[in-house]
């Protein structure tokens, strides 16, 4: 969908912010740009909507060069979310959200119903928020509005630069989870810049790790973790390795799931009811929940065709995780 080919950006003819980068973001995936501060993430992102023009190289969207149309036209079809949100302080929430639809000259009715729909979508009640001004909203609420604004004209691509960077850890986590869910629903192609590696692992299908403007590795979180292309990649992830591994390995990875497999908690949180577990849950999330359920007497039950195949305690899970990792490293391909 979005393709960068040998893109380089040099500022003031001496700072090379982005150095010969090429990657392809597939339709519907969430693609992360990660790396330390100043490595060129923002610069790369802004070249996609032409807020910055590359010094050399080409960028295409669906095969068309982005320079084939006016930058303003291009931008109206690409959502853009930034850390400081940048809501217009003199516009109401509704007017803020309606900015792009109005630029696209939608009719009044459509603009309004779209804005209400979006507010609902990001979890804000239109009755309460439509007529308010940004200064009366909390940081988290503002970021939700910022998101709604980026989605307003239903662009197929959304660029996000540290969208949750300014939020406190709890709000951040909460919004992140909601947004991940939302994105899965609405099928957008997303390029996400972040220096929070957990965020990247949680949200992104694939990542591009940059260092000093140069591409270090592109791949799924697991590939980066278990098959680092260089010492740099390895050491970049080293300090958080254990948590990242738990994050990138799902429960289905360590169990041999069949067609008729069922996963659920035992004991259930309420009697007579089965607590199902989704197969794509990361081990991190599973262990976290187990902790909350008081893992001493908690377990995960795996049933195939109604018969119990496995019953896994906290330590069982960790053991399986260790042996899965060993296989991964030997196997060369991840499962």
């Amino acid at each position: 969908m979005i393709r960068l080919q040998n893109v380089t950006k040099t500022f003031n003819s001496d700072t090379t912010a982005v150095d010969n980068i090429s990657f392809h973001v597939k339709e519907g995936e969430t693609f992360g740009l990660v790396g330390t501060s100043g490595c060129g993430k923002t610069t790369t992102l802004k070249m996609i909507n032409r807020l910055i023009e590359p010094t050399s190289g080409t960028i295409t969207i669906n095969g068309n060069s982005i320079t084939s149309q006016e930058p303003q036209k291009l931008r109206r079809n690409i959502g853009y979310v930034i850390q400081d949100v940048g809501l217009f302080p003199h516009y109401t929430i509704e007017q803020n959200i309606s900015t792009v639809p109005k630029l696209l000259e939608w009719n009044e009715r459509r603009v309004q119903s779209r804005s209400e729909e979006l507010l609902e979508m990001v979890g804000l009640s239109p009755e309460i928020f439509s007529e308010r001004f940004p200064e009366s909203l909390s940081g988290g609420q503002q970021q939700r509005v910022g998101l709604a604004r980026a989605l307003a004209a239903d662009p197929s691509i959304i660029l996000m630069d540290e969208p949750f960077g300014a939020l406190d850890p709890i709000t951040k986590r909460q919004i992140r989870t909601e947004v991940s869910k939302l994105f899965k629903q609405i099928k957008k192609t997303i390029v996400l810049v972040t220096h929070d590696i957990f965020e990247a692992f949680e949200m992104c299908d694939r990542l591009c790790l940059l260092d000093e403007g140069k591409m270090q590795q592109i791949g799924t979180p697991k590939e980066l973790l278990f098959h680092p292309a260089s010492d740099f990649v390895d050491s970049f992830l080293a300090s958080n390795r254990f948590q990242l591994e738990l994050l990138s390995i799902t429960i289905s990875n360590i169990l041999e799931l069949k067609e008729n497999s069922e996963l659920y908690w035992s004991p259930p949180s309420e009697k007579d009811q089965q607590d199902d577990i989704q197969a794509d849950k990361s081990l991190y999330e599973i262990l976290e929940e187990m902790e909350q359920r008081n893992h001493e007497n908690g377990a995960i039950i795996h049933r195939i065709d109604g018969r119990v195949a496995d019953s896994l305690s906290f330590s069982d899970l960790l053991n399986r995780f260790q042996s899965y990792k060993k296989d991964l490293k030997i196997g060369g391909e991840d499962g």
């Binding site: 909507n49 807020l51 930058p71 303003q72 036209k73 291009l74 931008r75 109206r76 079809n77 853009y80 930034i82 850390q83 400081d84 949100v85 940048g86 809501l87 217009f88 302080p89 003199h90 900015t99 792009v100 630029l103 910022g146 604004r149 660029l159």
Partner: protein, 518 residues
């Protein structure tokens, strides 16, 4: 206070006119400053390389003292409303340009970035985001500019642009504090009033923004057009009158009654009168018969055929006590008596006004020619002070007296020339701040002594009778002694451009009155 109210009530028509002119000058210049200043501020934000030159330039204009700025306008644009508006406009520029610039610069970069990121064009960002967000700051600049302009506009009376400054300067010339108040108080109230109203607007700008900016624009444009049209209207003969002449007993009111005419007045400083006459801003001007510029500017002196003006023989006046203590000084001064006839005075004046010589050189050369000692030139602390009014010949005479006294006595002499009006100089003499100055008999009669009408009639405008009466009365009433006349007369005259006078067939003031009454 009672005086003040009486003054305001009797002069309310003129006061209203002046207030109108004042508001007009303020708003016309403000409107232009807004129309030019806001785009200039915007451009400065767009091209960083010119922002500091632009801001620097408007900042430097602001540091020029307002009087000097008005002065610079004179050679470029002459006198009247136009140079005043240009000067006020230049003054208003700084707060408007600077606030536009900083108001836009202060818009958060994230707001601008998201606007760009959503696909707004440069123009849309400016109109929908930057200007609305900067509007409180811009408005504060406009408010500052308004208040500055109300203040500076009082000075515009100096270059014949009218406004409340007219009363202030006339009041200063006549040493009349009631009159000064009558100009200053409304000016202060205007400034406070505008500040208050604009302050209200500023605080509510976001809600009032749209209706208000349109409303304000319409009002300002109408006020501006109206006042421009009144200031520049050209349909009638107009007379330029110096402030003092408007108020004197032998001044303009009396002249109009005596000749039975009525014509619109443009009040202006005497030194601007000739230029105003030449460039057609006025058609008749009140001048002095000894002025060298009458000939230089090819002006017609209208004959005072009904003998309205009294004789104005020039003679030095001194304090009685001073005269008694210094008989040698009287001797020195009296050497000049009878030596300068009217022709000569015109010649000396024009040497200064037209040939650009300085008064001191002209005085020195003349005395030298006449065979007087002129070599001594003392530099010590002055032991006496000679005063003088704001007229070229008074400067020349002041220097002549100083030279004579320094050469024929042991005294060191200081000068206090260029004082702004008869009342001011005369009061200085009464208070012993100066000891001597040249005065005119007619002025002594009408301005200083102000006798009843029958007395004036009995003098019959006879030069000797007037001199004797004025000399006697001044001695009795003020302890002031008139010395022997210098030899020339400097009477008020009405002047017209020779060509226009010829065209309209006007030779005398009666002709003028007849023409006006047609």
């Amino acid at each position: 206070m009672v005086d003040f109210w009486n003054f305001v009530i009797t002069n309310h028509a003129e006061l209203l006119d002046q207030t109108g002119e004042h508001v007009g000058l303020t708003f016309v210049s403000l409107l232009i400053a807004v129309i030019i200043g806001i785009p200039l501020g915007v451009i400065a934000t767009r091209f960083k390389s010119i922002s500091s030159p632009v801001l620097g330039a408007v900042g430097i204009i602001q540091t020029i003292p307002s009087i000097a700025l008005l002065g610079f306008m004179l050679p470029l644009l002459g006198i009247g409303a136009l140079p005043a508006i240009v000067a006020l406009f230049l003054y208003a520029l700084l707060p408007i340009v600077r606030n536009t610039y900083s108001g836009i610069e202060e818009v958060e970069s994230s707001v601008r970035e998201s606007a760009r990121g959503m696909g707004m064009t440069g123009g849309q960002i400016l109109r929908k985001v930057e200007l609305p967000l900067a509007s409180p700051v811009i408005f504060a600049g406009i408010r500052t500019a308004t208040v500055i302009n109300v203040g500076v506009a009082t000075l515009c009376a100096l270059i014949g642009a009218g406004g409340l400054g007219e009363y202030i300067f006339r009041g200063i010339a006549l040493n009349n504090s009631v009159m000064i108040m009558a100009g200053a108080l409304p000016a202060a109230l205007l400034a406070l009033g505008f500040d208050f109203v604009l302050g209200l607007v500023e605080r509510n700008i976001s809600t009032l923004m749209k209706p208000l900016s349109y409303g304000l624009a319409v009002v300002v444009i109408f006020v501006s057009l109206y006042s421009v049209s009144t200031v520049f209207s050209e349909d009638q003969l107009r007379i330029g009158v110096p402030p003092e002449f408007l108020e004197r007993a032998d001044g303009f009111d009396g002249l109009q009654k005596h000749y039975d005419f009525d014509m619109p007045v443009v009040e202006m400083n005497a030194s601007l009168m000739y230029e105003a006459l030449q460039n057609g801003r006025v058609d008749v001007a009140v001048g002095y018969s000894t002025d060298g510029r009458i000939e230089a500017f090819d002006l017609k002196v209208l004959e005072d055929d009904k003998r309205y003006f009294p004789p104005y023989e020039c003679a030095p006046v001194v304090r009685q006590d001073f005269a008694q203590q210094n008989p040698d000084i009287l001797q020195a001064i009296n050497k000049l008596a009878g030596t300068i006839d009217t022709e000569t005075m015109i010649r000396l004046n024009s040497a200064v006004d037209h040939k650009g010589k300085d008064e001191r050189t002209v005085a020195e050369e003349f005395l030298h020619q006449k065979g007087f000692e002129t070599d001594i030139n003392r530099q010590g602390d002055p032991e006496m002070l000679i005063g003088g009014k704001l007229q070229t010949e008074q400067f020349i005479l002041g220097h002549m007296y100083r030279i004579l006294i320094e050469n024929y006595t042991d005294l060191d002499v200081g000068l206090r020339l260029g004082l702004a009006g008869t009342q001011i100089v005369f009061n200085a003499l009464l208070n012993d701040e100066i000891q001597l100055y040249p005065e005119y008999t007619g002025t002594g009669l009408h301005v200083l002594l102000e006798p009843v009408e029958s007395t004036i009639d009995s003098l019959g405008n006879n030069a000797q009778k007037v001199y004797r009466y004025v000399a006697n009365e001044s001695q009795q009433q003020f302890d002031i002694r008139w010395l022997e006349p210098v030899g020339f007369e400097n009477t008020y005259v009405l002047l017209m451009r020779s060509k226009q006078a010829e065209k309209l067939g006007i030779e005398t003031i009666s002709d003028l009155a007849r023409f006006l009454n047609q």
